[in-house]
Symmetry: C2
Subunit: 477 residues, 2 copies
Amino acid sequence: MADKLTPRNEDFSKWYNEVVQAAQLADYAPVRGCMVVRPYGTALWENITAALDRRFKATGHENAMFPLLIPMGFLQKEKEHVEGFSPELAVVTIGGGEQLEEPLVVRPTSETIIGHMYAQWIHSWRDLPVLINQWCSVMRWELRTKLFLRTAEFWWQEGHTAHATAEEAEEETRRMLDVYADFAVNDAAVPVIAGQKSDSEKFAGAVRSYSIEGMMGDTRALQAGTSHFLGQNFAKAFDIQFQAQNNELQYCWTTSWGLSTRMIGAIIMVHGDDQGLIMPPRLAPVQAVIVPIWKNDEERAAVLEQAGKVKSALSDFRVKVDARDGLTPGFKFNEWELRGVPLRIEIGPKDVAAGQVVVARRDMPGKAGKTAVKLADLQANFSELVSRVQKALYDRALAFREANTYRPENYEQFKEAIEKGFALAWWCEGRACEAQIKEETRATSRNIPLEQDEPGPGVCVHCGEPATRKAIFARAY
Amino acid sequence: MADKLTPRNEDFSKWYNEVVQAAQLADYAPVRGCMVVRPYGTALWENITAALDRRFKATGHENAMFPLLIPMGFLQKEKEHVEGFSPELAVVTIGGGEQLEEPLVVRPTSETIIGHMYAQWIHSWRDLPVLINQWCSVMRWELRTKLFLRTAEFWWQEGHTAHATAEEAEEETRRMLDVYADFAVNDAAVPVIAGQKSDSEKFAGAVRSYSIEGMMGDTRALQAGTSHFLGQNFAKAFDIQFQAQNNELQYCWTTSWGLSTRMIGAIIMVHGDDQGLIMPPRLAPVQAVIVPIWKNDEERAAVLEQAGKVKSALSDFRVKVDARDGLTPGFKFNEWELRGVPLRIEIGPKDVAAGQVVVARRDMPGKAGKTAVKLADLQANFSELVSRVQKALYDRALAFREANTYRPENYEQFKEAIEKGFALAWWCEGRACEAQIKEETRATSRNIPLEQDEPGPGVCVHCGEPATRKAIFARAY
């Protein structure tokens, strides 16, 4: 701990790198492009995992574990898929001291090997739907890396489902997009826009891709989760057929959907400030830290005893007592602010005498966020307090996004908007048009929001062709 | 579902393979030596994970996530370690389309890369101990494979800790061995013997290894968890040093400990019978299945309504209602027996009328295990019933192990004992002696029990040299 962080408005990217390492979320690994997620980052990921897994199970999904290594030939069975992923593969060519006949790929994603297994498990309409999710890490060779945002190995979940009809599969695709949005909004306090990806931005092998997109603290966009309707592309490539109720043999309709440790990057960049992280309370590894304050042994005994009582009273929450010797309270305050603990509970000798604690909100620095709370009231009010911080973080992030979202009516305004944040504009949805916009502005279409703010048709903000929907354009992580 | 299983006493190995696949725990993958863990097996592993993770956190450990790929050079830094693992490595030689300068190994275990990180994180005695665990899969090239017991990829946790003194590290090694034993006995209902591994059986790079060993249903042994005192071997190889309180720079003392999906193999082989699996209730994915029995629509409505009420009343337990149409109750009984659900709750129209259900215990086939229970009593008694099944499984397994454990006093008796089960005998602990025993009997020393049944010294059962401790010898998985 901890020289001062670079201010966000001076160099956002530098601030990000510093805060990730200083808060001990993650570290660079000695393997090119890979990261180590340290205990504090892992605890956050475990809370994300639990919050999503609960939702997956509530919507009828089960977890399974598929192999890490995939035969190279599997990837080649779906043409767009292999084209999309080949440049990024890590390839095992030696096993048990011998050259392998067929190289094995460290999974970049698992549609292929799961498709192969589904072909063996699915026989009849009675076997459908198959609703399976996997928690694992995947590997995509990356040279320019940034912790959590772009690393060769990252952790994620990948859902893979098979259905009897296109309608059911499309419904599943949208259901899981909703699950992601619900998680992002209610647990991560990250406002997101749910929408459809453009043709050039969709998943390699998908018919249609959807995403949730958030605005980071520097107004750039981050894709925080994706859900894909794969049509029958993978079912045909892997021969996933079933006997329908009318006895015909038909191909399944499949979906896949994933959310990764990138979400940690989003949480950092949406909520953090110049003092460091701010964790949304529902996901925070430590929801409240108790800092006892003393000057001598007698005071020390009294405040530590009180701290123990407060911790017990708050046993429904993730509370830590920082009883370390040899460090000043100020040092501890800074450290827990850097690490983004949403609530700090200070207990000094006077507080013990007065039967109270001082609660400080991480999201409201200075006096405004400090309140003395009677011990008798603390337990009853704590849940409410936690919810208030959670809501404040969301409201602030939403207001920030709205303040930085523009509705340009011509291409000049569009280019100005891109410099400042999101541009929500009528768009023709053409591949060539998107490529030109990207070349001219470094912005890409993030998605075409499912909820449109006004009915079409309109005119494409770039090429003037007819447009039926508006899209969000922005520079993206 | 499901031709009859091969009886266990006819061909135990065949029974095992059949039951794993028929119960849909796991399946062979299209990658040589690898497996797919299906949802039912994954749900069991998740319960194992939760039961262990709770114990790890209660003993002060945190989780972290380290890279999957390890530079080849790292393994070579610890001589015994690289010798032990080289023949089993899967090696990545191509990344992003280019030949790598240094090959990367898919982790067979993570002492090396974690050691490298600890060297960067640990500076002072204040940073110690470091108590970290990782949940992941690892890869060890295997040609002869058996689902859960020996596969190229398997799932596990690996704990890695660093300490200021040898005593603390040894204490940690033994603490985690105790954690494993406690988990095996109380959650998996698998009786285990905790002991020290012989010189030839210890971990590559360890000073001392400990294990828990169980007796399977065919009287062979299975190592179900290991804990290693690594001394300063890895600290010296990776330069993990700290400034001690006396200001001297010292090497840390480290430990590692792991328990894997092999434990699922143990659960299958310890508890299963000719009808299939028997899951220990504390880990069972489904603790009770409700099978409603009806002949017509009116009955169907009544029993399903009752089934819903029973499920609600038992909401503290993992209960499933099998309401599938078109299958007979008998078919469902067989299927859930095969899958090892510990308790079955039958509800027919007469039961509805009588305000009761019939509860059948999986571990007591036939009438002896069936009881009619009044609805009013079910909720209050269920926890007790679950505990009774859990205890009965443990008691039966312990009695089986005791009945098949021999205390040979000479080598003739020893060889007879090995044919029938465990041999607990005085042993000189010599490497050469163990090699001869192995060659002559195909048995290895499983471990030297920490709790000895009589005080030494004795005389080695094989070579006649002085012996201070008895060891367990057996043929092993």
